[in-house]
Assembly symmetry: C2
Homo-oligomer: 450 residues x 2
């Protein structure tokens, strides 16, 4: 059934005040994600009615897919008898995101609904930066003790499994909460109930610190093919886990961010259609003006060579082609280097190797494009003296663009700035000014102009 | 310990022919991924020795991280008593990738090592395209029958769990292998052993067809936050599952591919440093020459306006700035639209809305940049008649670039071509020629030149 059909059927049932079983027939087969998509289409009153009718596990998971503002509006207007179990059932990472997004007074009200111990753990998670491993972690993990048997562990998992986000692993901690090891549910069900946990625990557990950047956490999780990654504080105490589905979202967002930056615009915080035109404008105008300033110098260079240009107007014909080719070469390299840095293939220490490879590749490309330029000059019927000047300029501009594009992102990365700031347009603008200067200087020298 | 230290310790042990327990002390605490990184550093003889010494589960998983060529070289030269268990233990998705990458004769030899039934399933998987859900699937899933009890199911899982890639779910199939439902290990351990499976099975299982594109499969898995996704043939028979860690790699690769395409170069098939310079050259030169051709027309336009340019040389000063600004605007939009299409935020049906939003945003940006251009013209001291011509051109070029950049990726997507082919450099080249024509036509009209 199409989503629009479902939505209108649900709306009809809601306005008729139909009984709960009719709803569940319709909504029961749906995944929480699908229900969240339906909630978006309903008005506020209908959202409240539908949420109240859902089983609490389903309702809580559906809420998690909505934006914090919408989550709050629903929870705040529901009867506390419905809202409190929903909030308790939601994943603690979603609760943290919600509490951080709303007004502190609103957050305080919601927090009062939570049991003391849970509230304290939420407060800890809230102290970590948004894009850190700690900010992404959930406390809904399964913690067990090293002294237990397999049987006791399974019994404990049965008790807490409904709350846990990932039941694939149980984490072994000591009395101080220090992470000692990890045991998989697979190994637990493969062992006899009276086996001591210490016999099957994996003590070589890979964890990340709470302040690790989320991109680094994603890299580790995807390298080792884990389902979840434990997050520890500076004393090695377990404070939460990050599950792979949260990192899928992180990786998607980080790639989107890099694509926007590499194209010289600020990343959008929302999806395209949720972003109003004034925000689209703001996300673009800043970089366009910076690039404009960087490129404005081309005017000075051209004015400086005014006499040269008026003596041989044919030199003008090749301006867009030469600087365009330089910009294109730079754009290609920047994308490769920035992506290589993001996925961890390239590090700053590799700078000499990168520069060597790019200079070699750039020279090969430069020779190819110089030949193309020479041919183009010939086809455009420019004089026999001008063609080699243009070809030589093409070669030098391509090599120069290669060098700049190879080195700049690495330097920014070294300075702990985002290398994706060196976008294709940024490199093009840099190369435009310097490339023109190169071109017209060569022309003046070789053609004996002034 | 640093990787280089570990490698030299292992090399020392290998040359001393130390006994197995010394190795296991050193290698035991390592994850299979770490061992694969060490294998890369060893020479071929050392690789064989180390692989033979590893427990078969660890060795098989470490092999999976290596390239198919290296996997084959190791398996082929090991004693069959070691190699055959390793191959059987490897994930079936890795085996498929290996068999497809090596020579058919080599593949035939390896296939003979596999049990008949397993070989048949591998043969089925090998028929699907590389970037399809079927091509990514593994047959190492757990299949159970609807008539079983929870107890019998758990017993079965205990038997096959070591082979399975994901034990988080068991898939319920009928006698023909048709997928009927899914049951989670969490629900199994929460239920009494004599509960019929039919009471806890989830029949609303979300699956993908074998020919679904891997990007689409990744989108579904990440939307629904699953750990694995079942893959079915046209008769709804279960042929394999895709696990989330395989899709993490897919998502990373697809993002890398888009970043390369958007910057006007062919994506690399290997990591940066594994790509030889001649391959770097080939991945770039094609697009550079296409862009060169697209941009070469600027020469004709400028030649056409030769008289205009020699009458007012000041017009030349603004050529790089105007076409650069048009290109930058287009690059920003292309990145937003292509990424929106990739993550599913934008569809072809939205074309009118996209165009409307981009025309509005483009007009606002155009007015801003026209003002900046006017100011720039004033600072460069051009005559009072020329400044408004340049400002008007800036406005029109920005609006024109916005239109082209908004529509082209959507059209390509509609034609089932990759929208990322419309790269920033491609849009810039298109806008260069048309923008110049616009600019010089306006100049000629307003300044009364010929």
């Amino acid at each position: 059934m199409e989503k629009s059909q479902l939505v209108s059927q649900i709306q009809a049932l809601l306005s008729e005040d139909a009984d709960r079983s009719q709803f569940l027939d319709l909504v029961g087969p749906l995944q929480p994600y699908d229900i969240s998509e339906i909630l978006r289409e309903l008005d506020h009153g209908q959202q409240l009615k539908l949420t109240a009718l859902l089983p609490v596990e389903v309702g809580a998971e559906a809420l998690e897919y909505l934006e914090p503002e919408m989550q709050y509006r629903i929870l705040h207007h529901l009867h506390p008898d419905v809202a409190i179990p929903l909030l308790k059932e939601m994943g603690s990472d979603a609760v943290v995101d919600l509490l951080l997004a709303i007004h502190p007074n609103q957050a305080a009200t919601l927090k009062e609904w939570l049991p003391d111990e849970y509230r304290e753990r939420i407060d800890t998670l809230m102290t970590f930066p948004e894009n850190s491993a700690g900010g992404l972690a959930t406390v809904d993990y399964i913690a067990v003790r090293a002294g237990w048997t397999v049987g006791r562990t399974l019994e404990h998992i049965r008790k807490v499994a409904r709350e846990a986000e990932v039941v694939t692993y149980a984490y072994v901690v000591d009395a101080q909460g220090k992470l000692l090891g990890v045991v998989s549910l697979r190994d637990l069900i493969l062992s006899e109930p009276d086996t001591p946990l210490s016999e099957i625990v994996n003590r070589e557990v890979i964890s990340v610190g709470a302040y690790t950047h989320q991109e680094e956490a994603a890299r580790i999780l995807s390298q080792y093919d884990f389902i979840a990654l434990p997050v520890v504080d500076k004393d090695d105490r377990l404070i939460g886990i990050i599950s792979v589905d949260d990192l899928l979202d992180v990786m998607e967002d980080e790639a989107t961010e890099d694509i926007h930056k590499l194209s010289g615009s600020e990343p959008l915080r929302e999806t395209y259609f949720k972003t109003p035109v004034r925000v689209l404008y703001r996300s673009r105008v800043g970089w366009l003006l910076i690039l404009f300033l960087a490129q404005a110098y081309t005017g000075n260079v051209l004015k400086h060579f005014e006499d040269t240009l008026s003596q041989v107007v044919a030199l003008t014909f090749f301006i867009p082609l030469l600087i365009g080719t330089g910009g294109n070469t730079g754009t290609q390299i920047v994308a490769t280097i920035v992506r290589g840095l993001a996925v961890g293939d390239i590090r700053f220490q590799d700078i000499a190797r990168v520069l060597g490879r790019e200079l070699l590749t750039g020279t090969l490309l430069g020779v190819t494009l110089a030949a193309a330029t020479w041919l183009r000059a010939h086809l455009l019927g420019v004089s026999i003296q001008v063609a080699p000047v243009i070809a030589l300029s093409a070669l030098l501009i391509v090599v120069w663009a290669s060098m700049v594009a190879a080195v700049l992102p690495l330097l920014l990365h070294r300075l702990r700035l985002d290398p994706a700031v060196v976008s294709g347009p940024f490199i093009s603008s840099l190369v435009d000014t310097t490339g023109l200067f190169l071109y017209l200087t060569i022309a003046r020298m070789f053609l004996g102009l002034n």
